[in-house]
């Protein structure tokens, strides 16, 4: 092994010390500061640390489902005997990846990375596998346009050697089209089931045009946003056949989701404690990557069976004799899926919706007008609104058909949660639906109320 420059050793030592200091002083930010400090000292520190992992690195990226999918994949890989270094708290810029490399020991890396960071992560980490989940319209104020992002992914993936693998979502035309001209091996996953199949596209959907010839794509089935079965009537380009597919999906609002997975030669029954169709996609994506990396079918289903969601993604807790379920909603397609999941609950809904417009949420709240809140009108017992743009939500719900007298705004999170629980029948279910930074705030509030543990400890 080649000796590393002194700069590297210093960067590692100082980065680790910074992490220790920020923990001791309870400054928070322990998931990014060490990496940021080390990268400042040695710009190549990340590639050197990654090169030491004998089992190589796996990257997970996409607009929706990164954190949950990479946590599922981590559990599967651990079950298969890998010792995984993982940025599990969801710090998914290069500083967060580097912090995980500095602070954990293992033989393989598993990193979720921000969509805009994927090209840099591929360059520095030289991954053996990249899992591409989906590309939805999320924060155009931050990322620019969707097609630009897809072509950057394509260019980055094109640098991977034949020994690497790209695992791609066949149901997302933009992601699937990336697979066409890669030197590395490509593997596709997708849904092949009549369950939860729709024929109409939601308004929030993107990518309706053929990535090759710009013809308007025909969709024979739509599962979620613009994900589905499509073909181009002009050039004939069509969805690639997936080698990993869900052939059955049963969603149950009160119990676990039942999935049937077809993987190359065999079938697998999976039970997941994760609600919603979007989580079925997350399980499928993680399973496709794990099975490609050599995990066995039973290791995959065992890992999913024992899995609980990352904080805020979908977490259920008990508080004051009620069940409180948290569901992150940060963009139109994600929010529509949350609504679809809420509608599985047969009882009148008790909701706390929190809309923030901080930088990490996207400062533009226009997206709430692409969400089909109309579906919830008449289905709610309680709606409480919060966040830096609660007023915009109130207008959105008014125009979705909610009575204006039933849209209270509550700026204090603890008071909002108390009011929500007070209006939820004893033993009943309540839901909090926050945007990203609102979810982080909610985490602190619920910790103070005694309902959740420390963020960076999970």
């Amino acid at each position: 092994m080649q000796a590393l420059p002194l700069r590297h050793t210093v960067a590692v030592a100082v980065g680790r010390a910074a992490g220790l200091a920020s923990r001791r002083l309870r400054l928070g930010g322990g998931t990014t500061i060490p990496g940021a400090v080390a990268r400042r000292i040695d710009a190549r520190v990340t590639r050197h640390l990654a090169a030491r992992l004998a089992g190589g690195c796996v990257l997970v990226s996409g607009t929706n489902g990164k954190t949950t999918t990479s946590r599922l994949l981590a559990a599967m890989l651990r079950g298969a005997g890998y010792r995984v270094v993982h940025n599990r708290a969801g710090a998914n810029l290069m500083a967060g990846v580097t912090t995980a490399l500095l602070s954990q020991h293992g033989d393989s890396g598993l990193f979720e990375v921000d969509e805009a960071v994927l090209p840099a992560a591929i360059r520095e980490l030289k991954p053996r596998l990249v899992l591409c989940l989906n590309l939805f319209r999320d924060q155009l104020d931050r990322y620019g346009e969707l097609n630009t992002l897809a072509s950057r992914w394509q260019q980055a993936l094109a640098t991977l050697p034949a020994s690497a693998t790209a695992v791609l979502n066949a149901d997302d035309p933009l992601v699937a089209s990336i697979g066409a001209s890669l030197a590395c091996r490509t593997v596709f996953f997708g849904l092949e089931t009549v369950d939860h199949r729709q024929t109409d596209m939601q308004h929030a959907a993107d990518s309706l045009y053929c990535p090759r010839c710009s013809g308007q794509l025909d969709f024979e089935a739509v599962y979620l946003g613009h994900l589905g079965h499509y073909c181009c009537p002009i050039c004939g380009w069509r969805r690639p056949d997936p080698s990993f597919a869900l052939t059955g999906i049963r969603l149950d609002p009160a119990g676990p989701t039942q999935l049937r997975l077809r993987a190359e030669s065999h079938e697998l029954a999976i039970e997941a404690n994760l609600p919603g169709l979007y989580n079925a996609y997350n399980v499928l994506a993680a399973a496709a990557a794990a099975l490609t990396l050599g995990a066995a079918g039973e290791q995959v289903s065992a890992a999913v069976g024992g899995f609980t969601a990352a904080f805020g993604r979908t977490e259920t807790m008990r508080l004051d004799g009620r069940q409180l379920r948290l569901m992150l909603a940060k963009n139109p397609v994600g929010c529509n899926e949350v609504i679809r999941t809420l509608l599985l609950d047969p009882d009148p809904l008790n909701l706390y919706l929190v809309l923030n417009d901080r930088v990490a949420d996207g400062e533009d709240v226009s997206w709430i007008w692409d969400v089909d809140f109309e579906l919830l009108a008449g289905r709610c017992r309680t709606v409480i609104l919060g966040g830096t743009r609660a007023e915009d939500l109130a207008v959105r719900l008014k125009y979705a058909g909610f009575p204006t007298s039933e849209l209270p705004l509550e700026g204090n999170q603890e008071a909002a949660i108390r009011a929500l629980l007070a209006r939820t029948p004893d033993g009943g279910r309540a839901y909090a639906v926050p945007t990203y930074t609102a979810m982080l705030d909610l985490r602190r509030t619920l910790t103070d109320m005694g309902a959740a543990g420390q963020f960076w400890e999970d």
């Binding site: 155009l140 104020d141 400062e363 533009d364 709240v365 007023e391 125009y399």
Partner: protein, 248 residues
């Protein structure tokens, strides 16, 4: 009374929540007992009859290119006639650029517009910043009655820089960039055709402007004596103030 709204490219030119404008017009008509029918006009559909209102939202560069010919060939002629006959039109962002003379990209490629609005858009080099953020505008509209002026708040997100020729701006920028970040102008107006960079969505948080468009559509169709019954806009105005307070 009833109105017909032509919604151009509801599938491909409707990012950043521009659907909210259609929802606001529909609801505020409905709440007054006026039926508003929406014609959805995607790529391939011809606009051949005059509607009472037109909405044209923003799209990504690629979508703008994809509809360029379709817009000029299948919608353009009737749209020009509609504007000349005082049909109110609202075009946001990409729609605004395409009602103008079009858009010239940094790499030399261009999108041809209809030229109803005397507005030309140029994309600066890749290095130049996009104009992104909350925007507050003091609007100046024709017909000097009480409903014709006021503050508009929205969210802008555009790379292109637009400059006006002979037409009036929609208003003056109080906070934000507007057409180009330099001349203090936002949007454009010719007769009752309005171009703007404001998403947000624009109309839900600016109910007076929604009503201005509705009233113009009704007066054109049913006569100048028509008035609109006032609505309780407490929530909308609270959202407007909150958004104005967020603008830097």
């Amino acid at each position: 009374m009833n109105l017909v709204l032509a919604w151009l490219y509801p599938d491909s030119m409707s990012i950043y929540g521009d659907r909210g404008n259609v929802i606001a017009l529909t609801r505020r008509a409905e709440w007054r007992g006026i039926a508003l029918e929406v014609w959805r006009l995607p790529k391939g559909a011809r606009l051949d009859q005059l509607p009472d209102l037109v909405m044209f939202g923003g799209g990504q560069d690629r979508e703008q290119r994809l509809i360029e010919r379709d817009f000029l060939e299948l919608k353009g002629e009737t749209l020009v006639r509609a504007v000349e006959e005082d049909v109110p039109v609202l075009a946001v962002c990409g729609g605004f650029q395409q009602l103008g003379h079009g858009y010239r990209d940094a790499d030399g490629s261009s999108i041809q517009g209809l030229g109803i609005l005397d507005a030309s858009t140029v994309a600066p080099s890749d290095k130049a910043r996009r104009c992104i953020g909350n925007i507050v505008v003091e609007a100046h509209l024709p017909d000097g009655d009480a409903t014709s002026g006021g503050v508009l708040v929205g969210f802008e997100n555009h790379g292109g820089r637009t400059r006006l020729g002979k037409c009036e701006p929609l208003g003056r920028v109080l906070k934000g960039f507007g057409n180009n970040g330099e001349d203090g102008q936002e949007g454009a107006r010719y007769r009752y055709c309005f171009g703007t960079y404001m998403h947000g969505s624009l109309l839900p948080k600016n109910p007076w402007f929604t009503d201005y468009l509705l009233l113009q559509a009704l007066r054109r169709k049913y006569g100048p004596e028509i008035t609109l019954e006032p609505l309780d806009d407490a929530l909308e105005l609270r959202a407007q103030s909150a958004a104005i307070a967020r603008a830097r």
